[in-house]
Symmetry: C2
Subunit: 599 residues, 2 copies
């Protein structure tokens, strides 16, 4: 198929421009130099680089995994070429201030641009986006000197970066991390420890790698309150910015993964020779808060990356279902009639529509959440406050719901391809493998669910949930005025009542001190609230589409598709919330009560 | 972990002996020489060979895919050694008559033995079991001369075999196959065509490969009524059984798969030089019926193989969850307390119990269906008739439900392992990849659903469904008498009403000629009936377990686990049937009405 069709730009523009109206951001001082046109130009540039430089080596980098030669990581050349194109086009500084050479684009536009690279090649895009995440963190917490030495070269595409959190014995549980930092006379720290699962932890793509390392300063409190954040460069940097000697960071091994094979994943040791220099970022013992400052944006990135793999799998399977001819209708067995295109089979059409529901509904949610990040630039205090609260609430849903349902979408894409889908000659099995990491990393989806129910849904007396409910109710009111959507509006309203009642039941149980039992079905709660917010997104898309249809827009097939997908989500998906709500509200305990010896 | 724990023999014995009472089969003339002890001995032998010869090279054969050297397929040596051990122990003739040197075991016991090999190494076991399937077919339809020349050497482990159905342009749609057979003067046929997805299609494991090929005799009717079955040996065989010249069968290519990489999958060409000899099996134009004679057993085999990959993934993740320590309870954040074993976290325990529900419930269904195959040896006509009808009904469910939920189980196993689960250093990612083929091959799960709703559920005025309903009602009556299970009995009774009403709604719509719409939600119907029959299996296991507990059986933890898993399935899974039933009964049409141009 034509590679341009692999990225559904029409849908993206629909969500950003017609539904979310992101050009509204241009009234903020930060984005005053921008316009709908500059947003569109950035997206077009990203699309072109994604298709020209990232997509073509997606399979090749899967087949030619990074490996070590003489202690150095060897990547296929195309990865470096793609990363260079990304940086040269300015995407390494897409969010950064214009004063630092950045594009100073809104987060939502940058996320949409990233999404195209994620669709094209989830492994290669990890190198520059991890670097950029490190730069974003330094922008907030580092000293001006640190910014000059370590952040600016990342923005320029010369340095790369990592986030070093996990250790072999402590993946999700940062309270248990053991890497230590001992103060030295020159103000730096000697870092000692081992870090696991470090993506892009070693390679030769740039002049240096800036590791952001969580460690404990000697004598620090136990647990997460004793964690500090350090800059640990692979090569030391002289005061004039020139490269000094190698720092004591050792590549101890490579992890061999199910997918995302082009993205090197490393086991790193710090201070094996006792001379690993680290530089404290900001205040001591604030490391976790500093990392978590970036976490909402990182987790939106994970959800979006997942759904973008689902999006390209959907496009591949849609194209295949239109071209491949096989079988006949159940009431038409005459073998002399021509075989049907797969898309004509009801079950194949259902698998395509289900993918469309997950993909486009998931994208809508991700961009909606991303827009909340940009609302922090709104001049109105209350807008900033409400947006921040809502973002906190939606983030675990974006991370977990999108990564769960993105995998379901990829699974459906494989099924549509049949036996061919199971082979490495077709792209969809790689989509699944590349995507399978997303429910795991940046906090497993189980942890997201605990974050949602144990913290976000109930914090400040449920303030964030009330904001969400008010916005959903407002959308329902809009939809109620459109005859075709009125029944869907009522259905979503009922689901909202279910959310309220279920949350209150949990709050009551927590109030009685039954914390463990009350949170035992947190996963079902995430499913409940996730389906409700995705349904909300679909209803808003349907309202926009129905208005375009009523106005006689020429692109009627496109808009009909939105309305029909909304109907499908409300018919086949949204009713699932009833069981989820029942399990949570009743604190159904069959798994909770199960004993180890009974397995 | 100790490899013996990887196969849960205790559960297998529970299902076969305590719940199903398979030793009842020994009263049939065919199994009169057998006893519970001989069944157990066969299973122990299979378990030992599976763990000693199949499991150890499971990863190695994944990493060292079959490849071609000088036109020959090269496999790692361990595959040949494992297959030889399998054949030497008599499993190549496990079902065959004692008079032919076979073990003459019941199908259900053979299936349980096969299941152990499937858990240990799904790729390697394909070689001898495909051969055995070919032999089973020849036993029914071939001439004595053909049996002597082609079947007997398979039973002896000297020859291998394949099933050649699919073609590049016709996977699921056999009506469209194009391979031709032209009669020759010597009574043989010249075969010409290409066959795709042929597992074990070429290798050097034995003296010969017997391809069973579907082809059209020149002038045959169009569609499936013009298909005949041919023996096409890789090497011709002389009348005295000695090997003759190479037949005109060419290895045209290897398929490179997501998983099951140790099992070579080939693209074969027949008659490229115009001299491919094929030998008609049985009567002309009966090929599809002949193949389908074996199809119930093959499809039970697919479902069982899938659930056995789920079973070993469950055992791996259970073991890991007991050993790995990580994090603390949500109400216990003190970092000085020791980290918990993963199994102590409510969400991990839920993921383990969910796997247990799918795995053990799926195995119960598979063995129950396998037992119906053996009921064909019952002296009572009505038992044979009812068993055959029920087997027809359950087969698509065994194939599709088990393969769908086995993948969900493997997905949960990966999630429990966290980042490690995503690496190839741990076994669960391979379980998923190996397992992903099962919803596709031997008829996609979409086709199974059409077979179930469009044919099996309604055939003979719903006779098979009535037999099933009567048996479920009988189990409900038994459970109703046990206080702990009475609520579950009522719940299953209500689900049964839902099945009846839903089926009647479909029948009414079919009666009005709305065939396509009535069958459009067949997948949801399979989910509905699948969940009901698995719940039925769980209720029967719970009845047996509750009785053992009441009798003061010392193994109480084991039986408590069965009762608890049953409760979990009824609480979290069975209620899903309500939505499925609603979609089917109302002929929900959002996907059906979706147009190609709207995507």
């Amino acid at each position: 198929m034509e590679s341009r069709q692999l990225i559904d730009r029409r849908h993206l523009d629909f969500v950003l421009d017609e539904v979310l109206g992101v050009d509204d951001l241009c009234r903020y001082a930060r984005f005053a130099e921008h316009s709908r046109e500059t947003f569109g130009a950035a997206l077009s540039l990203a699309q072109q680089i994604a298709l020209d430089k990232f997509l073509p080596h997606n399979r090749k980098s899967d087949l030619n995994e990074p490996h070590m030669v003489d202690g150095k990581v060897v990547l296929i050349a195309e990865i470096g070429e793609a990363v260079a194109a990304f940086c040269e086009a300015g995407f390494s500084a897409v969010l950064a201030d214009a004063g630092r050479g950045g594009m100073q684009l809104p987060f939502v536009v940058a996320a949409a641009a990233d999404g195209m690279f994620c669709s094209a090649n989830a492994a290669t895009i990890a190198y520059p986006t991890l670097a950029r995440a490190a730069a974003n963190l330094l922008e907030v917490y580092a000293s001006e000197e640190q910014k000059r030495l370590y952040m600016q070269p990342i923005l320029e595409g010369r340095y790369f970066g990592t986030m070093c959190l996990s250790e072999p014995q402590a993946g999700s549980s940062l309270a248990d991390l053991k890497t230590t930092a001992s103060p030295r006379d020159d103000g730096s720290y000697a870092i000692s420890g081992a870090k696991m699962w470090i993506s892009a932890g070693d390679h030769e793509l740039g002049e240096n790698i800036v590791h952001l390392v969580l460690a404990r300063i000697e004598g620090a409190p136990a647990g997460v309150r004793g964690i500090s954040l350090f800059i640990v460069p692979r090569w030391r940097v002289n005061a004039d910015g020139s490269r000094g000697a190698r720092n004591d960071v050792t590549l101890a091994g490579l992890n061999h993964k199910m997918g995302q094979r082009g993205s090197v994943n490393t086991f790193l040791k710090f201070g094996e020779s006792g001379d690993c220099a680290g530089y404290l970022v900001g205040t001591a013992h604030q490391g976790l808060a500093q990392m978590f400052h970036m976490m909402n944006e990182e987790r939106i990135g994970v959800g979006l990356s997942a759904i973008q793999q689902a999006a390209i799998g959907y496009q591949y399977s849609l194209d295949y279902a239109r071209e491949r001819r096989q079988g006949r209708h159940p009431d038409q067995k005459d073998p002399s009639t021509p075989a049907l295109a797969l898309i004509e089979h009801a079950d194949v059409r259902r698998m395509l529509l289900q993918q469309k529901c997950y993909v486009e509904g998931g994208q809508m949610l991700a961009y909606d959440a991303a827009l909340l990040v940009d609302r922090q630039h709104d001049p109105d205090d209350s807008v900033r406050r409400d947006s921040a609260a809502l973002l906190e609430l939606l983030t675990p849903i974006v991370k977990a719901w999108l990564s769960d349902y993105a995998l379901r979408a990829n699974d459906l894409a494989i099924q549509i391809f049949g036996g061919y889908g199971y082979t490495r000659d077709y792209p969809v099995e790689q989509c699944y493998r590349d995507n399978r990491i997303n429910p795991i990393h940046e906090g497993t989806n189980g942890i997201q669910a605990l974050d949602l129910l144990g913290r976000k849904a109930l914090m400040h007396d449920g303030a964030a949930l009330k904001i969400l409910a008010a916005r959903i109710a407002a959308s329902c009111a809009e939809a109620a005025a459109i005859a075709e959507l009125a029944p869907l509006s009522r259905q979503l309203g009922q689901a909202l009542v279910l959310v309220r009642d279920t949350t209150q039941a949990v709050a009551a149980r927590l109030g009685q001190g039954e914390v463990r039992l009350a949170l035992a079905n947190a996963g079902h709660y995430l499913h409940l609230l996730g389906h409700v917010v995705v349904a909300w997104g679909w209803l808003r898309m349907a309202v926009t589409a129905q208005r375009a249809l009523a106005a006689g827009n020429a692109d009627s097939a496109f808009y009909q598709g939105k309305v029909q997908a909304c109907r499908h989500f409300f018919a086949a998906e949204l009713p699932q919330v009833e069981l989820a709500a029942k399990l949570v509200a009743s604190a159904e305990a069959s798994a909770y009560d199960m004993r180890d010896s009974w397995f």
